[in-house]
């Protein structure tokens, strides 16, 4: 691994943390390879004049897919930059430009990378200029980040309103697939449908492509099939002791297909993931034969240090068996179109951020996976994490010990590997093994 340097040229402390993670599944290795190849081909297409979109992960990528417009999810790109261990460099650059150090990181790392305007340093040659940026204004910072980003690229930013839910729908996961029109309030769906129509027209005008309703319906159906495989995989992992798949594999085999959700490749890859997990279960293969404890990871993946999770397998036989990624793919995406696929699509993302953080759902997942304890990562720069204490309370009430660690998932500068490992070790020794 090459040494990472700060903007000023000094070696960065904390940028060489941990070892690389070990992936055990063919599906995750293939998915990562596909992603890299897809990116290369996409660059070629864009250089020939094809349109291209950059969008938040929780936005309707299906619209772009229907119009054959490649889309790169911001969080995925952020994770790639962090995994390449470039985040420290880019954040320093941003700070030197006058942006304060305490600002949010996960959603703005790609902006920082763009501000560098140096494709040679950026992962895989960097992102080309997009036709459009798409984000839901889910937090106060999003509108600013995307506004600045659009300015940096000289392209359009298409903001989607983030209407607020007036009700907290309990056990949403039981109703969302078939009765999403009951879980999400109609006035919120109405606004989002109108916004999606406006987005479609905007893309039709700017790219001179037509949105095919038939193709869109096919994408929605393929996506349902894909999410069904994830549900089966999640259930299989949850019930199998010892755990057949480590978290690094779960991330790769879930997120890569999710970023191509609604494609045949995405569906087939999800099926391959399921079949591979099933094969491992049948053969009795496990992440850790000597599994003593099962842990849940709550929050975004620790992208700058995926190997972190493996440390506890080796030290304690403590295996991270689940995270929000596969769980939300299993519970949160599938939609019965109810003869209105655009409205069904609108319902997919409107409350996803809230559902992902709902303590009851997290406790349900913890119980399903038979975990002994949970580790929750909380980013001090993310306003959406301010209510995480309610998750702590819900877990303690359910008799599941939970440790909160304060760290950023993409900014390696303030990550203290020894300190965090020590915190988790103490949690395991004092609360789970004692």
């Amino acid at each position: 691994m090459s040494e990472v340097r700060s903007v000023s040229g000094q070696p960065k402390a904390g940028s060489g943390q941990g070892d690389r993670s070990v992936k055990q599944l063919r599906s995750s290795v293939e998915a990562a390879a596909y992603q890299k190849e897809w990116f290369k081909k996409t660059r070629e297409r864009i250089s020939e004049g094809d349109p291209f979109a950059l969008a938040q992960a929780d936005t309707p990528h299906e619209i772009f897919l229907t119009m054959d417009i490649p889309v790169v999810p911001v969080q995925w790109w952020s994770a790639v930059i962090a995994a390449k261990r470039l985040s420290a460099y880019y954040f320093d650059l941003m700070n030197e430009r006058g942006y304060q150090r305490n600002l949010c990181r996960y959603c703005c790392l790609p902006l920082a990378c763009t501000m560098d305007h140096n494709p040679e340093r950026a992962p895989w040659g960097g992102l080309p200029k997009p036709t459009v940026l798409l984000a839901e204004l889910t937090c106060d910072s999003h509108s600013k980040i995307f506004h600045l980003w659009a300015r940096e690229y000289g392209c359009h930013f298409f903001p989607l309103e983030c209407s607020a839910s007036t009700v907290s729908y309990s056990r949403w996961w039981e109703r969302i697939k078939h009765h999403w029109d009951e879980v999400i309030e109609p006035h919120r769906l109405d606004l989002r449908v109108e916004e999606l129509k406006a987005l479609i027209r905007f893309l039709e005008v700017t790219t001179e492509r037509t949105f095919s309703h038939a193709k869109f319906v096919e994408i929605m159906e393929l996506e349902n099939e894909q999410e069904e495989y994830f549900k089966k995989t999640r259930d299989l992992i949850a019930e199998t002791v010892p755990c057949p798949v480590n978290l690094a594999d779960q991330f790769a085999s879930t997120m890569n297909p999710q970023w191509h959700r609604g494609t045949q490749w995405g569906r087939d890859q999800a099926r391959m993931f399921y079949e591979e997990v099933k094969e491992r279960v049948n053969k009795g293969e496990a992440v850790c034969k000597n599994e003593k404890l099962r842990l849940m990871w709550i929050g975004a993946g620790l992208w700058h240090n995926i190997a972190f999770y493996q440390y506890f397998e080796e030290k304690y036989g403590a295996v991270f068996v689940c995270s929000i990624y596969l769980s939300i793919a299993a519970d949160g995406y599938a939609r019965d179109c109810l003869n209105d696929p655009l409205r069904a699509l609108a319902s997919r993302h409107l409350s996803m951020g809230e559902h992902l953080r709902q303590p009851d759902w997290l406790v349900k997942e913890a119980k399903l996976h038979k975990v002994n304890g949970a580790v929750m990562i909380v980013a001090e720069n993310c306003i959406r994490d301010v209510g995480r204490r309610f998750t702590q309370i819900a877990f303690e009430d359910a008799g599941i010990p939970l440790l909160t660690i304060y760290a950023d998932v993409v900014d390696a500068r303030e990550w203290d590997d020894d300190k965090i490992k020590s915190q988790v070790s103490s949690f395991i020794e004092e609360r789970l093994l004692s």
Binding site: N102, S141, K144, F390
Partner: protein
């Protein structure tokens, strides 16, 4: 007691008027930020009361439920709601303004589940959009209608257009009078300090508007006799400031705060409701399109507003003051700084500030402010000398 002293009393004893109203059998509807139409609350026959925090009040109960990086002014308000400091509220309207405020709606609901005996006012979420698009305006209009329905349900009586128009007239007069107060600050020399202005503006949100209008009229009648304020003219940009600590600190040196861009200050009195339109439509439009709160897209409007306000107030320097974890504003800072400095307005920035300033922090801030003010004063002096030399030649 003169008009200013009365407004000052209500700024200091914020619940005084609302509790008296309550004692007489009236009902009080609390609200957060300046994104909830006070006119509608007034038209419903309720006392509109803006919720503020208390830097000295502690946050022990709120800390049980929220992470340490929850914005401190909102954490304080949350704590006050949980500890009964706002026990006189019958209803509470929470707008979808900044994230920290919206989170309160969900936090209060969750606490109520955990502690069912906790007494809270009835809540209503007022889901305001964050863009200025026409489509968002229609959504806003529907939410305003929804709020009207809720207020009618609470009061048991219809809110007629006549009542709305009357409330709009009272609110507009308040804004017009507060604009005159702002003009006294922009005058050369200024006639009132920033500390005085914050109390005049803030008391408007803790009193019945008609009463406040009377006091403002009285205050403005006597304004010609107000002594001139001296010192370097400063403008404050940044977090909402619902207390006097920082202004007192700045103005304890050779400086006067002649304006600010926040919703406890001059921005509160911008944009009267258009009386030529249907009252409910006009309210929806005013609260959708008013001067840009930091939650609103796009941020260029915020940069332009900050620059224009500072120039109109004839500011000689700009202080950026950001409370800890109030991050959204900070994204605008590099653009605002650049725009101001291009206009010859120097800036200083205080980020991650505590809600309650400790003595060492006050001293640290005082030193930096004095240095900033001194540097502006020296620049001004040397510019005058250069001008004199030029004139002599």
């Amino acid at each position: 007691m003169d008009a200013f002293e009365t407004m000052q009393k209500h700024y200091q004893q914020r619940d005084l008027a609302a509790r008296k109203w309550k004692e007489k059998g009236g009902k009080v509807a609390g609200y957060f930020c300046n994104n909830v139409p006070e006119e509608m609350i007034l038209a419903a026959g309720f006392f509109p009361f803006r919720i503020s925090g208390d830097p000295w009040g502690g946050t022990e109960v709120a800390d049980r439920y929220t992470e340490p990086f929850y914005e401190p002014d909102v954490r304080s308000m949350f704590n006050m709601l949980l500890t009964g400091r706002y026990d006189f509220l019958d209803f509470l309207i929470i707008p979808h303004s900044r994230d920290a405020i919206l989170a309160l709606y969900y936090h209060l609901g969750k606490v109520q589940q955990i502690a069912p005996t906790l007494k809270l006012p009835e809540l209503h979420l007022f889901d305001t959009p964050h863009t200025r698009f026409w489509m968002s305006g229609l959504y806003m209009r529907d939410r305003v209608r929804e709020l009207k329905k809720k207020l009618e349900e609470w009061s048991g009586q219809e809110i007629s257009n006549e009542r709305l128009s009357k409330a709009i007239a009272i609110g507009n007069e308040n804004k017009m009078l507060l604009k005159k107060v702002a003009a006294l600050r922009a005058a050369e020399p200024p006639r009132i300090s920033g500390v005085e202005a914050l109390q005049i503006i803030g008391s408007s949100m803790f009193m019945l508007k008609e009463e406040h209008n009377k006091l403002l009229r009285q205050f403005l009648t006597e304004a010609a006799r107000l002594p001139a304020k001296d010192g370097v003219r400063l403008f404050v940009e940044g977090s909402p400031i619902d207390n006097l600590q920082f202004y007192e600190l700045v103005e304890s040196g050779n400086a006067t705060i002649v304006g600010e861009d926040n919703c406890w200050g001059n921005r509160y009195s911008d944009d009267p409701v258009d009386v030529s339109l249907d009252p409910l439509e006009a309210i929806a439009e005013r609260y959708h399109l008013k001067s840009p709160c930091p939650r609103m897209h796009p941020m260029d409007r915020r940069v332009e507003y900050c620059l224009r306000s500072a120039v109109e107030a004839k500011a000689q320097g700009m202080i950026f003051f950001f409370l800890e974890w109030d991050n959204a504003l900070a994204w605008e800072y590099p653009d605002q700084k650049k725009a101001l400095e291009e206009k010859g307005i120097p800036t200083v920035c205080f980020e991650m500030q505590k809600y309650l300033l400790s003595d060492p922090e006050r001293e640290r801030l005082r030193t930096r402010i004095e240095q900033f003010v001194e540097a502006i004063g020296m620049d001004k002096k040397s510019a005058r000398s250069a001008h004199a030399r030029h004139a002599a030649q």
